[in-house]
Subunit: 274 residues, 2 copies
């Protein structure tokens, strides 16, 4: 896929921003990435990160991103403000705000930093899974529409997307997933993919349950070159809840490259209604 | 312990803030909570949260907190600015900035929200551990001094604090821990305790290694009443790294109440030098 093709991919159109001045951006919601209410959280998170990536003041690649979903984003335009609040020799800290009509809808903080060769080890392992090509592609549901942008091959825990959904005692979901049409990995793609999991409460209940992410954190373990080298092969993604209670649950997830290297570890706190 | 005693506890003196106006606070570093460079990250994180807890505009209890350690905090005074950027019916989103001489040293975002009775379940389990009273209290090291504020009983993975430290293939640390002198739990205490673990890279290496937290996220699973009911009993804390590489690693950890209920799940990205 050529750079031109990447820029006209639906994902890039959805996360595209127009610069309005230093640290100022204008964006627009994208119908194909609509969720229950407002856009798919992963596309909003990727859009926040795009403001950092597109900023000429950026000195290093992303290390971590936290996005807080403060209020619904209505269909239409939004503004985004970014500020590099601290630039050190090897790290740079950013704060970001997405607003509509002067109301804050999303906040984020991002840390960029210079990776350097060090001792390396991975203590966790990818989940057991047959090769992607041997797992059937799930039929995307009618609703929410954003799921049609992802080719999902469920190894475990399809929740309401399972042919005969039922309650389960374990919230784990494991799937092979990639953008459709296929698109090479980059920081934006793995940010959105870090939020690609249907809410854990739906997997437990085996049915649709109102739920929305409150706060999402992504730690990036692969750099730009490693992501580009992965290309558009499916990513092995796995997520589970840790605790449900009081109307909220947390989820921890990992994205693995096709060769078993960790791409991101990612955590979120989610509101649910039972 | 009476409320007066709580307020004069070293932890409360260290996290104490003076209001200078709406959303404005003045604080001061506390020598007993000094780390290698600047204060113990947990005390900084708790101080950021204190600004939210002390703010009359706050509408609900904390659900999540992310703190980004943007630059060193020098010994002396600092200013803290807090802003409730969005207040909804059941959630409230805050952004916070800690500065010294107009340079941003720490940023944070906090989400507060109303918990309500719902279906509840915990999918993870506390680590195996003998009762706290049967585990020896570790001798606090000479340095860093902040560790003298915690009574630590290591069940596994004491790293350089182990009598005969050596390299290990697994970074897991499990310990019983509480403030010393003992102090009842609250949101501030569990925030600091969520950062109480010596860096995972030191556990793997079995020796001191330069390391510092870049970004810390805490998800609060217990509300104010549950924390107060726990009192000053030791908390069972466990942490492990997921991936080390490029000069950074991530850590995921859990704090458990003495009765086996989850208090926080917490994650951080850490810089290290090998």
């Amino acid at each position: 896929m050529s750079p031109t093709e990447i820029r006209t991919h639906p994902f890039d159109l959805a996360t595209g921003l127009t610069t309005t001045g230093e640290g100022g951006f204008l964006g627009h919601t994208s119908a194909p990435y609509s969720n229950m209410v407002g856009p798919f959280g992963g596309i909003t998170a990727a859009t926040m990160l795009r403001a950092v990536l597109d900023d000429p003041r950026r000195t290093a690649q992303p290390l971590s991103l936290t996005v807080n979903f403060a209020g619904p984003i209505a269909e239409g335009p939004f503004t985004l403000e970014s500020r590099p609040v601290r630039t050190n020799r090897s790290t740079q800290h950013w704060t970001l705000t997405l607003s509509q009509d002067d109301a804050v809808a999303t906040t984020a903080t991002a840390v960029c930093g210079t990776r350097r060769p060090t001792w390396s080890d991975t203590e966790i392992s990818p989940p057991a899974a047959p090769p992607a090509e041997s797992v059937a592609v799930a039929d995307p549901p009618e609703f929410p529409v954003w799921m049609r942008n992802y080719e999902m091959r469920f190894v475990q825990g399809g929740g309401p997307l399972t042919p005969q959904p039922r309650e389960t005692p374990d919230s784990t979901t494991t799937l092979w997933v990639r953008d459709t049409p296929a698109r090479p990995l980059d920081f934006l793609a793995v940010t959105a993919l870090s939020d690609v999991f249907i809410p854990r409460v739906m997997v437990r209940a085996g049915r649709m349950v109102p739920a929305s992410t409150v706060s999402l954190t992504v730690y990036f373990h692969a750099d730009a070159d490693a992501l580009a080298a992965h290309g558009d092969r499916p990513v092995l993604a796995t997520a589970r809840a840790q605790h449900f209670g009081g109307g909220f649950f947390d989820q921890s997830a990992h994205l693995w490259g096709a060769d078993g290297t960790p791409l991101t570890t990612t955590h979120q706190l989610v509101y649910f209604k039972d």
